[in-house]
Each structure stands twice: as C-alpha cells, then as structure tokens.
C-alpha cells in the first residue's frame, strides 16, 4: 500500500490511539488538513491561536492521566501548527509542557524540501528553535521515515519522564506517496532506556533511614501523579505514619482530607509544612525535581535532614540539593518495593512530631473570613467554589496570586484535580488548558481559575468554548492588577508600583456576551453562593467575574533567597487588612493605589 505523507501521519495518529487534535491550519500544513476528514477517528479542535493548541493538548493530557493507564498507553496531547509563525506560536506551549513533563506531540509543517534554507515565506528553523524545549525533535525530510518517527515520538512522549516531542515535516513530504508497510510495533532507541526498577541496595538504605527517623516527612511531587502511584503513596504513608505534603504540581496526589495530609509546601505553601521541612530529620522527596519555588534557598533546605530522593530522571537527583540516598526509578515501582521492606515494628514513634506539626498548623491556620466583608477576597471565592463543588471539580489555575489561592484554599482529593503551569509559569495557560481538560474528562466539572491579567492573554479561546459548548466554568478573579507583580513591588521594591495597573480593562460581562457565553458578576461575599450556583446549574460554559479586593497579598511567603524555615506567615500589611475586616474602613494606602 502507498500513502501520502499526510495520510501516513493521520494513520499513525490513529494507530497511537489519538482521538483529539488541537490546531490551526495554514499554507504549509494544508495537505495534512486536506486529508483529515478521511479519518473520522481523529477529531480536530480549531483553536484561535496556536499557543492555545499546545496548552489545550497539555490540559487534555494531564486531565486524562487521572484515568490510570499503563505507561505505553498513556494519553498524549497532540497539536498541529503550520510553518513559520504557526510553529513559533506553539513554542510557549511546548516549553510549558517540557517544564511540567507533559506528554505532548506537536506536529508542524515546513516549507517544501527544495525551499528549506532559502528564507522562504513562512519558513522558520523550528526544529533548531525547539531543541532545548523538547524531549526530542525530528525534521522528517524523507517521508518513508514518518511511521518510525511518529512511533518513536509517541513512545518518547509517554514513557519514562514524559515530555513534548516535536515533529516537523516539509510540505512536499505531506504530498508525496510512500510505501506503507504497516505501523512499527516496536521502537529501536538504543540511547533511550529509562530506569524503572529501583536499585534494591538504595531501597534498603532508604528503609534504614526511614526506620531510624523520628521527624520524617514525605514531599510528593507530580511524579506520583505521572506514575499513577497515588494508592501506593497512601499505603506507604499509612504504614509508616509519615505525614505527606505536596509541591504545587504534586497537589492532588495525596487526598487533602487524609489525616496524614499536610497540604501545600514551598514558596506560598503552609507555614506548618515549611517548618516541618526545616525541622525534619528525614525528607523523602518523591517524584519532584527540587525546584527553587518548592525548596527555597537550596543551601538552607532541610538543614537537619537526611534526604531520600526518588525520581525517574537521574539528572534531577543532586542537581539542586544534596541527596543522601538517591533512588532512580518509576515512583510507583519504587514505592511498591519500598513498602514491604519497611518493618512496622521497627519504626520510631512519630507521635511527638505529628503533634508538633499540628501545633504549628493551629498557630498558622489558613485565612478565614467572616461571611460579610466590605470587599470580596480571593480566598473567599476559592472556598466558595470548594463548598459548591464539594472538592469534586478539576481546578485549572492560571499563574499569579489567584493560582496560589486556588492551590491553598481548595481541598484536592482526586488525582489531577489540580492542573496549572508550574515550571514555566505561563500566563494565559488556564483557559485553553481547562478546555482541553474538559474534553478529556467530560464526566468532571472543570473550573478555570484565572486572573484578569492572564485572562486577557488567551481569551480569544472563548470562541472555542462557546462554539463547542465546552462546559468549563470560568472564575475570573478581577483585581485590576498584575497582582503577583504588584505584591512583589509592594514588598520587595519599596511600594514602587510600576506598570502593573490594569484598571480600565474591558467590561467582562459584555465580553462574555459577545462570545455568547452567559456571565455573572459578584462584588460581595454574600453573592458568592448564588452566582456559583447559577453558573453550575447552567449546562454550558459560563463565566463569573469576581470583583476582588485590589490589594490582597498572598501569604505565607518564602521570599526569594531565603530558606523555607524563614517563611513569612503574614505581614503588617495583612494586619491592616484585618483592621479593614474589623470595620475600621479602608486605610489611606488602599486609596492611594487606585
């Protein structure tokens, strides 16, 4: 049988079990779109900007990962873009997936082979550009390589530490016919052999430390979710009675309503978590990469602890912080080897330690608000969504203050119920990612939690949401500021607020109406339950604009360059807000910022 390059790509996608593709056509990739209708198994979602094609594919892949599948069948997000600007628009989305280890295959077309290197119209050296932001990339100049390349691309994207793979194909290759000898059943990548099974010597070494520890903690990262190890983690924690905290991307890997759950650690994590890291005698870091936002000042990380670090990527071990026992392997297999090695009767009692953490927790509780306040505060909104959805929704948060409030104030108990751009911190991620997540999980209610700054970066995708009636509920937390930057200017730049004011932005209700999406507005906490209830009752997409206090800051806060033990629980600035809450009226500072 002979197939054109374009048909070979589509056939390969079908073979890989792909059902949804996000993309936008253009000159060079038209031959691929031309044959797409011949493949009814492939559903294409037409985006309004290629960056969002990558983000949608990213959200789609992450949400689908909650449906535990063997690694070889892991859902991969797929996006298409044309040559030149179509491809460069994908770059942010690809980089985002790279930083957060998301399985993604991005397929772009390029100008025809005979035009490559001539600076032709819409030509870009896109594989040159994506080298440092992909797990692997391919420039397929000969169409007979396509089945092998796509087989490898999907294998690389979904196995080991997942990541994005980019395949670039010149236009003439899409049009030319080649022999199709069936889809390859195996890959021959000699230079790619991820380690799944841990070295038992290291596992035994870790066991010795666990049995000796008096103040142990577990930090769970996204690796727990990626390897589908949430059950194994819970079993391990329950057996050893070691409390579990999570990184930002590790949120939802351990049920937050569990008695051993401590919640979020890191830059804006809870004080009791960061104190626990600082005072622990054993840190078991599982499937995390010791990111600076999670660990604070590396030299001051867990100063009293021995560190066991479990990760599938050997390059993450010892990269940022010193490690006593490195365990390279798949988190799920490591935990299932580790658990039987630990003898319950050999464990030290952690009762005093758990009491100590509980005491810190009581001393520095999450923000709690009266039901009526003069202004609306972001945590109140997240808490109201948590109440209304009973913690059953998938929360896709954007980047900034609202992201941290969403991470703090929602109770995450189901795997991948929290999705966000953690590593790259891509503003504008949440709306497209929520659309992708909703398409992957039609059984779940998906909430997009987004600030007004982020929303304006990708809001054109409301068209996709409206036209396909993707029932995402958008919680737009509008403080008319680039809030996180404003907060940092306030505290770290002496209150010199420069270019962070977004006041005078669009009327979001009218904007939603322009897209045909029903919208509500809340300005007062007493309205919260009503608007959230109305949006949830509506069967399609909906937007709620929450007009929130402009000057609220995110705390706790580990300032850059300080260790977790130096976490700031609160500030006088917050104390000032508390005065406002107590009815003292807005202070002069509140007024001057407007």
């Amino acid at each position: 049988m002979r197939l054109s390059g374009a048909r070979a790509i589509c056939q390969s996608l079908v073979e890989e079990g792909v059902s949804t593709i996000f993309g936008l056509p253009g000159g060079a990739i038209m031959p691929l779109y031309d044959v797409l209708p011949e493949f009814p198994d492939l559903h294409h979602v037409l985006v309004r900007h290629e960056q969002c094609a990558a983000h949608m594919a990213d959200g789609y892949a992450r949400a689908a990962a909650a449906l535990k599948k063997p690694q070889e069948q892991r859902t991969v997000g797929v996006c298409f873009g044309t040559s030149g600007p179509g491809a460069t628009n994908l770059v942010t989305g690809i980089c985002n997936a790279h930083m957060d280890s998301v399985p993604l295959v991005a397929i772009t077309a390029n100008v025809p082979n005979n035009m490559i290197g001539t600076d032709a119209f819409q030509e870009a050296d896109i594989t040159g550009i994506t080298i440092p932001i992909t797990k692997q990339n391919y420039f397929v100049r000969d169409g007979k390589d396509l089945p092998r390349v796509l087989r490898e691309a999907f294998h690389l994207a979904r196995t080991g530490r997942p990541g994005p793979v980019h395949v670039d194909v010149p236009k003439d290759v899409l049009l030319t016919e080649y022999d199709w000898n069936g889809y390859p059943s195996s890959v021959g990548l000699q230079g790619y052999q991820p380690t799944f099974e841990p070295n038992m010597r290291q596992v035994k070494e870790a066991t010795r430390l666990i049995e000796r520890a008096q103040r142990p903690i577990i930090i769970a990262g996204q690796g727990v979710l990626l390897s589908g190890a949430w059950d194994e983690l819970r079993d391990f924690a329950e057996k050893t009675r070691i409390p579990v905290m999570t990184t930002l991307l590790g949120l939802s890997s351990f049920p937050e309503n569990h008695e051993l759950s401590l919640g979020l650690m890191g830059m804006h994590g809870w004080v009791h978590c960061n104190y626990a890291v600082h005072n622990a005698d054993l840190v078991i870091a599982i499937g995390m990469r010791m990111d600076d936002r999670a660990c604070g000042k590396f030299a001051g990380f867990a100063p009293q602890a021995r560190i066991v670090h479990v990760d599938i990527d050997p390059a993450e071990i010892g990269k940022n912080v010193r490690v006593d026992v490195p365990i390279v392997g798949d988190v799920r297999r490591v935990l299932s080897r580790l658990e039987p090695e630990v003898h319950s009767e050999a464990l030290q009692s952690h009762a005093a330690w758990l009491d100590q953490i509980a005491e810190w927790r009581e001393q520095y509780p999450p923000k709690c608000y009266p039901s009526t306040t003069p202004e609306l505060y972001q945590p109140q909104v997240i808490q109201a969504i948590n109440r209304a959805t009973r913690g059953e929704a998938v929360i896709v948060a954007d980047v900034g203050q609202h992201q941290m409030f969403a991470a703090q104030h929602y109770e995450y108990s189901h795997p991948y119920s929290f999705i966000t751009s953690g590593g790259l911190g891509t503003m504008g991620y949440s709306l497209p990612a929520a659309i992708g997540a909703q398409l992957a999980r039609p059984d779940k209610q998906v909430w997009c939690v987004v600030g007004d700054g982020c929303f304006q970066m990708t809001l054109q995708e409301l068209a996709v949401m409206a036209i396909h009636r993707v029932p995402v509920k958008v919680a737009l937390l509008n403080n008319e500021y680039l809030g996180m930057v404003r907060q940092q200017q306030q505290v770290q730049y002496g209150g010199n607020l420069v270019e962070v004011d977004l006041a005078g932005g669009p009327d979001y209700i009218k904007l939603a109406q322009a897209y045909g999406v029903p919208a509500w507005r809340a300005t007062d906490p007493t309205q919260l339950d009503d608007v959230i209830g109305a949006a949830m009752a509506y069967p399609g997409p909906a937007i709620i604009e929450f007009r929130v206090a402009r000057n609220e800051d995110v705390y706790p806060w580990v300032l850059g360059g300080t260790s977790l033990g130096e976490v700031l629980p609160d500030t006088p600035y917050e104390a000032e807000r508390d005065r406002v809450l107590a009815g003292a009226g807005p202070s002069a500072r509140d007024g001057s910022d407007r």
């Binding site: 040159g128 797990k135 990548l189 070295n199 290291q202 390059a315 071990i317 490195p326």
Partner: protein
C-alpha cells in the same frame, strides 16, 4: 576548577552535535576543546570534550548528556589511565637561516615534523598531549607565530578497557 576529558559515543545525525552544544550553552559549561569523528561502528560517532568545571557540574553535564536521545554512552576519562593526543599545525616566522635552523632543532626535540617550507616561514606539525603542544608553541612564540590551528584532544583508555558506562555507573554518579 579542574579539567575533565569526557568521551561520548553518539548516533550520527544532523542535529546530534547541535543538541549537545545547546545543552552546554544553556548550562554555561565552558568547552575547552571538542572533536568529533566517525568510529569503527557505522552510524556511531565519538565526541571528545575537554571541559573545565567543578566535579559536581561535570556530573550534572554527564547526566544531562544522557538525556539526549542520540547519546549512547558518556565517560569521564579523567581518572582513568589513558592516551590523550592532539595535533597542531604551527606556521612559524623564520626570516633568516639561523632562525630556521633553530626552529627545526626545537621541532626535532619535540618529535615534531616540518611539513612545509616557505621563504620566511616553516610549517610544523606536532602531535601529543596538550601540555607538550602548549610548550612547543611557547618556544615558537619569540620567532613569531603567523598561524596556528589545533584539532582538540582525542582520548582513549589504555589496555583492554573501553569507556565504562552502564546503569550502575550512572547511579554511581549520584551517590
């Protein structure tokens, strides 16, 4: 800071070298020399890099190199008994007969060869470890060096051994 000789066997391909260099550039690892060429195995090339870095940085770059799919093996030969060689061509100014005689004499001591003679210069080919090449170049400097080219180091372990690397070795890097 210390010098490390890293040897990587890599699959031949248009982007392989680009990937390796991109990685060094991103992480600001200074490469002192780099040479690449084919091996006895078809499709496999051998990269020899001399890098200057603290030990932990070299371990990190080794682990990052392994993440490049086309990289098959990476070995740090710095602590192994090995043969290291580089070749240099040096064009030395020799305006007079006595100068020419001196230059030829120096070259002879270093077992270097005269490969080209012109009216006012000699081209010398020298092969050896970096220190030997360095010291010969130093001796030529007073005469005036018109042109200089070095291949960069290539290295091989002595005896039966081939560059060692296996799973346990990768683990050893972190423990």
């Amino acid at each position: 800071m210390s010098k490390h000789t890293l040897v990587a066997t890599v699959e031949e391909g248009p982007a392989t070298l680009n990937r390796v260099l991109s990685l060094f550039r991103q992480r600001s690892f200074a490469i002192e020399s780099l040479s690449i060429g084919r091996t006895n195995e078809p499709g496999i090339m051998r990269l020899t890099m001399v890098v200057d870095g603290a030990r932990v940085a070299v371990e990190q770059v080794t682990k990052q190199l392994y993440k490049v799919i086309e990289v098959r093996k990476v070995s740090d030969l710095s602590e192994d008994p090995r043969v290291e060689r580089e070749l240099a061509l040096v064009k030395v100014t020799c305006k007079t007969a006595p100068q020419r005689a001196e230059v030829m004499q120096i070259a002879d001591i270093y077992r270097a060869r005269v490969v080209d003679v012109a009216t006012s210069s000699l081209m010398i080919e020298v092969t050896g470890p970096t220190v030997k090449v360095d010291s010969l170049i130093d001796l030529f400097k007073p005469y005036g060096i018109k042109e200089l080219v070095r291949t960069g180091v290539v290295a091989m372990t002595r005896g039966q051994a081939t560059p060692r690397t296996d799973r346990t070795d990768r683990l050893k890097l972190v423990s």
